[in-house]
C-alpha cells in the first residue's frame, strides 16, 4: 500500500505544481522538492527495515494486489524486493537532485515542467515495482510521455528531432514487448486455464523452445533499445544532449536502468533457458558496446554527447555482467547500475552548470576552467575518476565484480572488455584536460559553484565514495534476488 501511496504522492504533487505555478512558479519548485524528499525518506525507512530483516526467506517484503480489469486477469499488483528497493531509492535520490538542478535553469512554464518531471519519476517508480505485466507496460509508457515533453519543450536547439527519435525508438520496442506479453498471456492461459498477467503466475509457464525464443526477443528488444545496446543506441546521444539538465540526469541515471532491470527481472526470470542460449552473443554485444561507446566518446567535441557515449560504454558492462550468469557478475551489475546512475548523473549536472555559465557545450571553447572555478573543478575530477573506474569509488567495485564474474564464462570476451577500462581512462582524461586544465580561454568572469550546486555535488560525491568504500549493504540487499536470477538458468 505504501508503494501505491508513493506513486500517488508524485502524481498529485505533479498536478499541484501545474496548478499553483499559475500564481507563483516558486511554489511549484517547493512542492516538487517536498514530494520527492518525502518519498525518499519513506523509501529510506523501508530499506532500513528490510535491511534489518534480511534473514527472512521471502524476498518480497512488500506485496500489494487489487484487481483492476478482472475480466482480462489484470490486477494492480506491486511488490518490492531488494533489487526494486535499491533502484527505487536511487530514483528518489536522483529525483531530488533533478529538482535542484532545474531550480534556476527552468524559467518558463515552470509548473508544467515540474509536472512532467514528477510524472516521469512516478512512471519509473512504477516500472521498478510493477509485478503485473500489463501494469508494467502501462508504467513503461507513462514514463515515456512526460520525458518526451521534457526533451521537446525545454530542450536545446535540436530538441524536436531528439524527442521524436527518443519516443519512436522506445515505442517500437514497447509495442513489440506488448505483443510478447500477449503471446505469453495466451500460452499460459491455454496451459493453466486461468488467464492472468501476473508475473508470479506467468513464471510457471512451460514454453516450447521456439515459442520461448520468440517471446523472449519481444521483451529483449524493448530492453536493449532502452539500455541501449550498440545497434540500437542511436537515440541516446541525441536525447541526452538535447534534454535539459534534469532530463539528461534522469535519462542517464534512471531510464537506462529500467532496461537493465527489465532484463534481470523479466528476460532472465521468465525465459531462463532461452536467455542462456544467447548468452554468448549478448556478451559479445556488450563488449562491442564497451569498446565502441568508448571510441565514440573519445571523438566527441560536444560535452553532453561525450558523456552520453560513456553511458553506452558503461551499459555494455551491464549487459556483459547479466549474461555471464554468475553471482559475482550479477552483483557487479547492480552496483554498476547504482554507481553509473550517480557518476553519470553528476557529470550531466556538471555539464548543465557549465552550460548555464558559458552558454555552450562545445569542449573546444572551454579550457582552464579550474583556475576560475576551483570547487567545480574538484568535483569534476572526482566524477571523471569515478567514470574511469578508479578504486575507492563505486564504479571500480562494479566493473571489477563484473569482470571477475564474466571471466570464467567467456575469457576472450572479458579480456577485450578489460581494454575498455583503458579507453575509459583516455576519454575521461581528455574531458578533464580540455575543460578544466590547459590555458584559460574565456574572457568574461564566471562564478564558481553556488551553495545549491555544491550541495548537489556533495550529495553525489559522498554517495559514490560510500558505494566504493562500503558496498556491503547493497550486496546484502540484492543477494537473494541475484541468487534466484542466476540459479534459475
Amino acid at each position: 500500500m505504501i508503494l501505491a501511496w508513493m506513486i500517488c504522492i508524485l502524481l498529485t504533487a505533479g498536478l499541484f505544481c501545474w496548478l499553483f505555478a499559475q500564481w507563483n512558479p516558486v511554489i511549484a519548485k517547493w512542492i516538487a522538492l517536498l514530494s520527492v524528499t518525502i518519498n525518499f525518506v519513506l523509501m529510506g525507512q523501508l530499506c532500513m527495515e528490510h535491511y534489518s530483516t534480511l534473514s527472512n526467506p521471502d524476498p518480497w517484503f512488500i506485496n500489494y494486489q487489487v484487481p483492476w480489469i478482472p475480466s482480462f486477469g489484470i490486477s494492480f499488483h506491486i511488490a518490492m524486493d531488494g533489487l526494486s528497493a535499491v533502484l527505487v531509492l536511487l530514483s528518489f535520490f536522483l529525483g531530488i537532485l533533478a529538482v535542484l538542478c532545474s531550480w534556476n535553469e527552468i524559467n518558463k512554464r515552470t509548473g508544467f515542467y515540474y509536472f512532467n518531471l514528477l510524472w516521469t519519476l512516478a512512471g519509473i517508480t512504477g516500472v521498478f515495482i510493477a509485478m503485473d505485466l500489463f501494469l508494467f507496460y502501462f508504467f513503461w509508457e507513462v514514463m515515456l510521455v512526460p520525458m518526451y515533453f521534457l526533451i521537446g519543450i525545454w530542450g536545446d536547439s535540436n530538441r524536436s528531432y531528439a524527442s521524436y527519435k527518443f519516443f519512436i525508438f522506445t515505442q517500437t520496442g514497447g509495442l513489440l514487448m506488448l505483443l510478447a506479453i500477449l503471446a505469453l498471456y495466451f500460452i499460459h492461459g491455454h496451459q493453466s486455464g486461468t488467464y492472468s498477467f501476473d508475473y508470479f503466475s506467468l513464471l510457471g509457464t512451460n514454453l516450447e523452445t521456439t515459442a520461448a525464443r520468440g517471446i523472449m526477443w519481444g521483451f529483449l528488444i524493448a530492453f536493449i533499445i532502452k539500455l541501449p545496446v550498440v545497434p540500437f543506441h542511436s537515440w541516446l546521444p541525441d536525447a541526452h544532449s538535447e534534454a535539459p539538465t534534469a532530463g539528461s540526469l534522469i535519462l542517464a541515471g534512471l531510464l537506462l536502468k529500467t532496461g537493465a532491470y527489465g532484463i534481470i527481472r523479466f528476460v532472465l526470470g521468465l525465459f531462463p533457458e532461452a536467455a542462456a542460449d544467447i548468452a554468448w552473443w549478448m556478451m559479445l554485444l556488450g563488449v562491442i558496446g564497451i569498446i565502441y561507446g568508448a571510441f565514440l566518446a573519445y571523438a566527441q567535441t560536444d560535452l553532453k554527447r561525450l558523456i552520453a557515449y560513456t553511458s553506452v560504454s558503461h551499459m555494455g558492462f551491464v549487459l556483459l555482467g547479466i549474461f555471464a550468469f554468475n553471482q559475482m557478475a550479477m552483483q557487479g551489475v547492480v552496483m554498476q547500475m547504482l554507481a553509473h546512475g550517480i557518476s553519470t548523473g553528476a557529470l550531466f549536472a556538471m555539464a548543465g552548470m557549465l552550460k548555464e555559465r558559458l552558454h555552450t557545450r562545445d569542449i573546444g571553447q572551454m579550457g582552464g576552467l579550474w583556475t576560475v572555478m576551483p570547487s567545480m573543478g574538484g568535483a569534476a575530477m572526482l566524477f571523471t575518476m569515478a567514470s574511469l573506474g578508479l578504486p575507492v569509488l563505486g564504479n571500480f567495485i562494479a566493473e571489477f565484480l563484473i569482470l571477475i564474474g564474466a571471466f570464467p564464462a567467456a575469457p576472450a570476451i572479458t579480456i577485450i572488455a578489460t581494454l575498455g577500462l583503458v579507453f575509459s581512462a583516455l576519454y575521461s582524461l581528455r574531458l578533464m584536460q580540455k575543460v578544466f586544465l590547459g590555458p584559460v580561454t574565456i574572457a568574461e568572469p564566471v562564478k564558481d559553484a553556488s551553495a545549491r550546486e555544491l550541495i548537489i555535488m556533495a550529495a553525489l560525491g559522498i554517495s559514490i565514495i560510500a558505494l566504493g568504500l562500503y558496498p556491503q549493504p547493497v550486496i546484502d540487499m540484492v543477494r537473494t534476488v541475484v541468487e534466484r536470477a542466476v540459479n534459475s538458468s
Binding site: 480489469i69 502501462f138 515515456l144 521537446g152
Partner: protein
C-alpha cells in the same frame, strides 16, 4: 405488428419523428436556438427509449428488422455521437450560414439511416438504411454551398456513393440469384448445406465487400476520403468519420456473423489484405499532411484497418474488441473535431497545422484536450485508445494472426510520428493564434467546452477503468 414489436421499434420511430418535428418547427419559424434545444432533447429521449427497450430484448420484426443487444449497442453509440455532433453544429453553423435550420433535418435523417443499418437483417432494410444515410450525406457535405471545395466534396461523395450503392445492389442480386433469399438467415440456411460455395455467391460477396470498402473508406477504395473530409463542414466530417462508419460496420458484422462469412478462407484472405494495406497506406499518406482534416481522414483509414483486425477472427471476443474500439475511436474523434470547430473562424476552418502553433501557451485547456485526444489516437496508455488497441491486439494474438498483428504494431509506430508532429506544433513557441471574436451567447461556448471536457474525462476513464463498459458490452451481446 404486435405491441411488443412496436415498443421495441420506438427509438427508431422517434428518430424518424425527430426530422418531422424539425420540419414543423421550421414551418412555425422557430429560431435556430429552439431547434437546437429541441433536437438535443429529442436525442436524449431516444437514449431513454433505448434504455427502456433494453429490457424487452431480443425482438425480431420479420422479415426486416432484428432488435437485439448488438443493435442496441451500436444504435446507442450512434445516438451518443450525434448528441455531441449536434452540439458542435450550433456554434459552427450559427456564424456561417443564414439558414442553418434545414441542416438538422438532414442530420437526423442520416442518423436514422445509420440506425436502421444496425437493426437490419434483410437486404432490403440494409439498402434502404444505407440510402437514407447516403442521400442525406450528399446534402450535408455540400451544405455550405458558397464554398468551392464543399461543392466539390459533395459531388465526389455523390459519385462514389452512388457507384458503391450500385455495386451493393448488384452483389445482392447475385446472392439472391444463387440462394433465393434476401434474409441473412435464409442465405445462411442455403449456404450452410451447400458442399461447395458457388461462384455466383462468392462473386456477390466480393462485390458487396467492394461496396462496404467504399463506405468505410478502406484502401484501395479510400480515394474520396481526404477530399470529402476536407470539404465538408467540420461537424459533418465528424459525422462521416463516426456515425456513418459505425452503421456500416455494424451491418457488416451482423451480415458476416449471420452467414458465417469466416468459413471462407478466401474472404478472410481478402479482408486481411484490405486491413493490412489500409493500415500501411493510411499511416503513410498521413505522414506529410499539413491539413489536419485530411490528416484525420488518413488516420481514420488506418484506424479502420486496425478495426478489421478485430473483425478477422469472427468470434465474440473480436466483436467486443471492435465495439470497444469504435467507442473509444468515436469519443476521440468527436473531441478532435469539437476542438477544430471551436477554433474555426467564420471564413475558414481551422484545418491548417499552422493555426495550432503554440496553442498550448494561448489556450492550454483546448490544447491539453487535443493532446489527450491525439495520444488516444496514437494508443498511449491512460487513454481509451490504448486499451482499444490492446483489446484488438489481444484478439489477433489469440487467433495467432501474426502478420496483421505485426503490421498493426509497426504501423502504429509510423502513426505515432504524425500525431507527435501535431502535439509538437501545439507546444512550439511563438504562435500567432487569431483569437476569434466571440459573437455568440457565451452559454453555447460554455456548453461546447463542457461537452469536450466530458468527452475527455470519458476517454481517460475508459482508459483506466474499462471494466464496467466491457461488462455491459458482454451482457448485451
Amino acid at each position: 405488428m404486435t405491441e411488443l414489436q412496436f415498443t421495441a421499434l420506438l427509438p427508431y420511430t422517434m428518430l424518424a419523428a425527430a426530422s418531422m418535428i424539425v420540419i414543423l418547427l421550421i414551418a412555425f419559424r422557430a429560431s435556430h436556438t429552439v431547434i437546437q434545444v429541441v433536437g438535443f432533447i429529442l436525442m436524449c429521449a431516444v437514449i431513454t427509449a433505448l434504455l427502456k427497450v433494453r429490457e424487452l430484448l431480443p425482438v425480431s420484426i420479420l422479415p426486416l428488422f432484428e432488435i437485439d443487444g448488438f443493435a442496441l449497442l451500436f444504435t446507442g453509440l450512434i445516438i451518443f455521437s450525434v448528441l455531441f455532433i449536434g452540439l458542435f453544429s450550433y456554434i459552427y453553423f450559427e456564424e456561417r450560414e443564414e439558414n442553418p435550420k434545414e441542416y438538422y433535418i438532414l442530420l437526423f435523417l442520416a442518423t436514422l439511416g445509420a440506425a436502421i443499418l444496425t437493426i437490419s437483417r434483410h437486404f432490403i432494410s440494409l439498402f434502404i438504411g444505407l440510402e437514407i444515410l447516403s442521400v442525406s450525406l450528399y446534402g450535408l457535405i455540400a451544405y455550405l454551398r458558397n464554398r468551392n471545395n464543399a461543392v466539390e466534396a459533395g459531388m465526389k461523395y455523390l459519385m462514389l456513393a452512388a457507384l458503391s450503392s450500385s455495386f451493393l445492389l448488384f452483389g445482392m442480386a447475385l446472392i439472391y440469384m444463387d440462394t433465393g433469399s434476401m434474409e441473412f438467415a435464409g442465405i445462411a440456411q442455403k449456404t450452410i448445406n451447400a458442399p461447395t460455395s458457388s461462384v455466383l455467391f462468392m462473386l456477390g460477396i466480393g462485390i458487396i465487400i467492394v461496396a462496404v470498402g467504399f463506405k468505410l473508406a478502406l484502401v484501395p477504395f479510400h480515394l474520396w476520403a481526404a477530399d470529402v473530409y476536407q470539404g465538408a463542414p467540420v461537424p459533418v466530417t465528424a459525422f462521416i468519420a463516426t456515425v456513418s462508419k459505425i452503421g456500416v460496420f455494424a451491418v457488416l458484422i451482423r451480415f458476416s456473423l449471420a452467414i458465417n462469412l469466416h468459413r471462407y478462407p478466401l474472404v478472410i484472405t481478402v479482408f486481411s489484405i484490405i486491413a493490412i494495406v489500409s493500415m500501411v497506406f493510411g499511416n503513410l499518406l498521413a505522414l506529410r499532411q499539413q491539413n489536419i482534416k485530411r490528416l484525420l481522414a488518413y488516420s481514420s483509414i488506418s484506424h479502420f484497418g486496425y478495426l478489421l483486425v478485430a473483425f478477422l477472427p469472427g468470434n465474440t471476443a473480436g466483436v467486443e474488441a471492435g465495439i470497444f474500439y469504435l467507442l473509444s475511436y468515436s469519443i476521440t474523434l468527436l473531441t478532435a473535431f469539437g476542438i477544430i470547430t471551436l477554433l474555426s473562424t467564420a471564413s475558414k476552418d481551422a484545418e491548417d497545422l499552422s493555426v495550432y502553433r503554440g496553442l498550448f501557451w494561448k489556450n492550454p485547456l483546448l490544447a491539453g484536450l487535443l493532446t489527450i485526444a491525439l495520444f488516444s489516437l496514437a494508443g498511449i496508455p491512460l487513454t481509451a485508445g490504448f486499451l482499444a488497441k490492446f483489446f484488438v491486439l489481444t484478439t489477433g494474438v489469440q487467433q495467432q494472426m501474426w502478420l496483421p498483428v505485426a503490421v498493426l504494431v509497426l504501423t502504429s509506430v509510423i502513426g505515432l510520428y504524425y500525431y507527435l508532429r501535431i502535439i509538437t506544433t501545439l507546444f512550439t513557441d511563438s504562435g500567432s493564434i487569431q483569437t476569434k471574436d466571440k459573437s455568440l451567447h457565451p452559454f453555447f461556448y460554455v456548453a461546447t467546452y463542457a461537452s469536450l471536457i466530458v468527452l475527455v474525462i470519458l476517454l481517460c476513464w475508459l482508459g483506466v477503468f474499462p471494466g464496467m463498459v466491457v461488462e455491459t458490452v458482454r451482457q448485451l451481446l
